[in-house]
Symmetry: C2
Subunit: 191 residues, 2 copies
DNA sequence: ACCTAGATAGACAAGTCTGTCTACGTCTGC
DNA sequence: GCAGACGTAGACAGACTTGTCTATCTAGGT
């Protein structure tokens, strides 16, 4: 069965992850994935019955990785402000590293127009999980749900803004905004 | 010269605008644009020497339209909060109307990985103009630059977030965050 | 009446795309 | 020793891609 993780499958998925993110889905052909994975055509179609199936696997893997990385970036902080700094610091790091390629999930969604498609649904579930992660990270510091949702919007805006403007300014702006909102919330609470 | 606006050119550009936005750039072929524009192949290549040239024209036109629409949505308000409500109200309206298709400029950027490409540069200039527009709209109410930049991030995050989650919640969150930041700024100012 | 510019339809080149197929090799368990 | 699983290499089908080409038609100016 699939209990043993096939190295071929992993290799194909790794190549696809790189190419889908760096180039985009439509523009990346299975021929290129096959060639750069150094596997045979049949091997590819054995593990993934179609390009779209590979896309689904890519979204699942990448989504989980991203959530985990974001959790690590926000964990172990001593304050809500610290969590925010961890999050946006990681976002900045990644933006520079990827040459402002933006969010892999959102980029994929932009290539699937139909809002009812399986891809869009997967992206929706992922972003929903990201939203829940914000709650999880800020909850220990008494930050309420509505505010964590607002910070989530700032994270999304930071990534999208950096990809548009090709620099890290929007990420800094987002962090400042998050700090402002947290400060305000603290002040309101003490009243 | 190009002083007389050719109706054919306009027709092609209108079709491309629709298809590029609804479907995406790579997936939309010139054949489809030609067919749905009801022009001859040669006519297409007469007005646009290549698909990429058409893309550039699309970005220019759509970018200008978007800025203008956003200006109208934020203009004629009596307070900074009113401007924010106008802006996010328009963003919400559009998100629903387009079935959460997101931002046409950002979607296009996501299909051009090379950060140095002409397309990415055009998107960058557009977002820069959008940033300047935020300043212009909020300036009459004494809102300073850094804060308008933060609101701009919220606008970006609202559009991207709505496209991801397939609902308008992120837009409401963004508005709440903007109102919070404006309120906080007003309070700080009075201190 | 004639000439030119612009539009038309459509063939065409040269390449790409996804997915299926055959034919051949190699490794493992029984 | 041999069957079956798994791998490889590569041909192939059929559709699609962008951009160029020819050949015909039509309208306006002189």
């Amino acid at each position: 069965m699939l209990s043993t993780p096939s190295p071929h499958r992993e290799q194909i998925l790794a190549t696809a992850t790189r190419l889908f993110f760096e180039q985009g889905y439509t523009i990346t052909g299975v021929n290129q994935i096959i060639a750069e994975s150094s596997v045979a055509r049949q091997t590819f179609y054995h593990h993934f019955p179609s390009k779209e199936a590979l896309c689904a696997a890519y979204l699942d893997a990448r989504g989980a990785d991203w959530i985990e990385a974001l959790r690590r970036a926000g964990n172990g902080r001593r304050s809500a402000r610290g969590v925010a700094r961890g999050l946006f610091g990681y976002v900045e790091e990644l933006a520079i590293e990827t040459h402002f390629r933006g969010c892999g999930m959102l980029n994929m969604a932009s290539e699937f127009a139909d809002a009812g498609s399986a891809v869009r649904e997967r992206v929706r579930v992922h972003k929903s999980a990201q939203r829940a992660l914000m709650r999880e990270l800020f909850l220990p510091f008494g930050v309420d749900g509505p505010l964590t949702d607002q910070i989530h919007v700032l994270v999304e805006g930071a990534i999208a803004g950096a990809a548009s403007l090709l620099n890290v300014e929007p990420i800094h702006d987002a962090l400042k905004a998050a700090e402002g909102l947290l400060k305000k919330a603290g002040r309101d609470e003490r009243r």
